[in-house]
């Protein structure tokens, strides 16, 4: 270690690290090649490599920017859903496999209410048709008009409903299934949660039907940034330069809504955990359950709030995911569960900040990998990155660095 202080310390340190982890050389090499390739693509250059393989190609910076944006959007969904998974893991001590179906629960219940509010008074759209999320025949998404432009209040009502309904479902499940086996340890609870996942998914399928359906109305949701700015600040005279570039861009308002709601919720949760008595008690219990008990912290009440917050956030994540995606079916959360787990494990299981960071990494890799590989394989790229990170940081990015 002392040698690191000598001349050329940085290189010596680096070479020592590389000698200890030869695999890292390969990883660095791949990273360098990818960066060169990316720069070549931006420049529109194609560099012949061997046979018909080339480096570089064509990729506009705007396209790259939109992939990054999409990565952040999906990453926030993984992160938001992952927070609850991480919380139940650290406070209740088990990996909750039914978390993906809580995500779906939020999507269906939230959209039921959003459509009911948005579709009020639309011909042929009965309350039952709307609340069961447009199963079967009836007016389509465009007629109901469920978009942030046409009926913003309906969209926000849906966010609230997704949180409330999912939290209630989680509280009932806790009382019926998890509470009686609280002291049985992680494995029995994990297995029970797989059962709950299947039951919940079947219940959703039974109530809402198994068809995939389009939900959102996308008319007018892509707007120019200039229009929004002018709506708020009046006329803006700017062209060229960075400001001009931003003003000339256009945004998808549903994605923007998703990002705003997700960021607000994450900041609110952060403040709640750091500032309030309940938040501190949740962190205390995640840290040391036995001591929380002898300190007089009402552990069962903390557990209830863990479910309310964790499931509520998962429900909102499911709802927002559909807002961005436009369509849904009963398998929605089940298919995303692995990504959510990957985000949480990558970030360091038990840490909510880790869940968000892990979600963003997984989301960005998922989207950016499309530049290099077929989009059928982008999930594989996300998991490969997870494995790679865990090889060098087995406890995840945030484990032991920050609280709760």
């Amino acid at each position: 270690m002392a040698t690191a202080q000598d001349s050329g310390g940085v290189f010596e340190e680096l070479s020592k690290t590389l000698r200890a982890n030869p695999g890292l050389v390969f990883v660095l090499l791949v990273a360098v090649v990818l960066v060169i390739d990316l720069l070549a693509r931006f420049a529109g250059q194609e560099i012949p490599l061997f046979a018909d393989r080339t480096l570089g190609g064509d990729l506009s910076v705007a396209r790259f920017g939109s992939l990054v944006w999409e990565g952040i959007v999906i990453g926030l969904i993984f992160g938001l859903a992952g927070i609850g998974l991480s919380m139940t893991y650290s406070i209740l001590n088990f990996a909750n496999f039914s978390h993906g179906d809580l995500f779906t629960t939020g999507a269906f219940t939230g959209w039921g209410v959003a459509l009911l509010v948005a579709g009020f008074g639309v011909a042929d759209a009965t309350a039952g048709y709307l609340i069961f999320v447009m199963d079967g025949r009836g007016p389509g998404p465009a007629e109901v008009g469920a978009s942030i432009v046409a009926s913003p209040l309906a969209i926000l009502a849906g966010v609230v409903m997704a949180a409330v309904a999912t939290a209630l479902v989680a509280l009932v499940l806790d009382r019926v299934v998890y509470y009686p086996m609280r002291d049985r340890g992680g494995i029995p609870l994990l297995i029970a949660s797989i059962g709950v996942a299947l039951a919940l998914r079947s219940a959703i399928q039974f109530v809402y039907g198994s068809g995939t359906r389009g939900i959102t109305d996308t008319q007018g949701i892509v707007v120019d940034v200039r229009d929004i700015i002018e709506l708020i600040f009046g006329d803006v005279e700017a062209s060229g330069g960075l400001l001009g570039w931003v003003l000339d861009a256009s945004v998808n308002l549903h994605r923007t809504t998703l990002v705003v709601v997700a960021v607000v919720l994450i900041v609110a949760l952060h403040l709640m955990l750091q500032r309030t008595k309940l938040g501190k008690a949740m962190r205390a219990m995640a840290d040391n359950k036995d001591l929380a008990l002898v300190t007089g912290i009402p552990t069962e009440r903390v557990v209830r709030w863990t479910w309310i917050l964790g499931a509520g956030l998962a429900g909102v994540a499911g709802y927002l995911y559909v807002l961005e995606r436009g369509a849904m079916d009963f398998n929605l959360g089940w298919f995303l569960l692995l990504f959510i787990f990957a985000a949480v494990i990558l970030g360091g299981i038990g840490s909510i900040y880790g869940a968000i960071a892990g979600g963003l990494v997984i989301g960005l890799v998922h989207e950016l990998s499309i530049i290099w590989i077929s989009s059928d394989l982008n999930a594989a790229a996300a998991f490969a990155i997870m494995i790679l990170v865990l090889l060098y940081r087995p406890d995840g990015l945030f484990k032991g660095v920050t609280t709760a």
Binding site: K277, N288, L293, V294, I297, G400
Partner: protein
């Protein structure tokens, strides 16, 4: 055994804690049999004995952390042997476990705040008193408790337990894991807490020092009381010295 080995012989005039014929253990396993123990108002009592004698179990039983199998525990006139820890803490007893006795990812101040969780608000004056008692905690109040040294962690743990101004403080092996030069300091702090009016029931591995400091000691063997007497008398007792204090 001589006549004054009757457990009641030197019992204080007014006990705040009275343990009578206590049988207790974990699951189906009984550890304690017919244990009698008293702590007077403001008294400093230690329990010493060989490894595995059930010293910590006595303390955990008082705090409702074991399975109660018989006998009674009365604190300030009210039976508490059927209560849970979160109820017992309301009665005026605080407990400092031997291991993992801090919230290591919380800050020092948050640890102390958690100590007063059962109150509606953090008692500002009490917090000041704890900081006065352990000035180093005030200096480091925004630091994560887990990043502190062993001695400082022990202060965080005791500070947390003192936040409710308990009438009885239960200390499980406070000197365990401390560097030898810190052990004396730790015992001085406990003396100070006791002198300020808090009764103490302490389990200690370091029997000589504990008996030297305390008002009264109990010697526990195989889950039963063997002797009780003042600390000095126990230290002077030939039999006790040979069996428990290494001659």
């Amino acid at each position: 055994m001589s006549a004054n080995r009757d457990p009641m012989a030197v019992a204080p005039d007014s006990s705040i804690l009275e343990v009578r014929d206590l049988d207790a253990g974990y699951g189906d396993l009984q550890i304690l049999t017919d244990v009698d123990l008293d702590v007077g108002d403001g008294e400093y009592v230690t329990v010493v004995g060989p490894n595995g004698a059930g010293k910590s179990t006595v303390m955990k039983s008082v705090f409702g952390l074991t399975v109660h199998m018989g006998g009674s525990i009365v604190f300030q006139g009210a039976p508490i042997h059927e209560k849970k820890p979160e109820q017992i803490i309301h009665e005026g007893i605080s407990y400092v476990p031997q291991n993992n006795n801090i919230f290591s990812t919380l800050t020092v101040q948050e640890n102390l705040e958690m100590g007063a969780y059962i109150l509606d608000e953090v008692p500002k004056q009490r917090l000041e008193e704890v900081y006065e008692r352990f000035p180093v905690l005030e200096e480091r109040k925004t630091q994560r408790a887990g990043s502190m040294s062993g001695g400082q962690r022990q202060m965080v743990a005791m500070g947390r337990a003192l936040m409710l101004d308990p009438d009885l403080l239960l200390l499980d092996e406070p000197s365990a894991g401390l560097a030898p030069d810190l052990v004396d300091e730790m015992f001085d702090r406990i003396d100070k807490i006791n002198n300020d009016g808090t009764a103490i029931l302490m389990v200690e591995q370091n029997a000589k020092e504990a008996l030297r400091r305390c008002d009264r000691g109990y010697v526990l063997t195989q889950g039963q009381n063997s002797y009780t007497d003042t600390g000095e008398e126990l230290l002077a007792d030939k039999e006790v010295r040979q069996q428990f204090l290494g001659g």
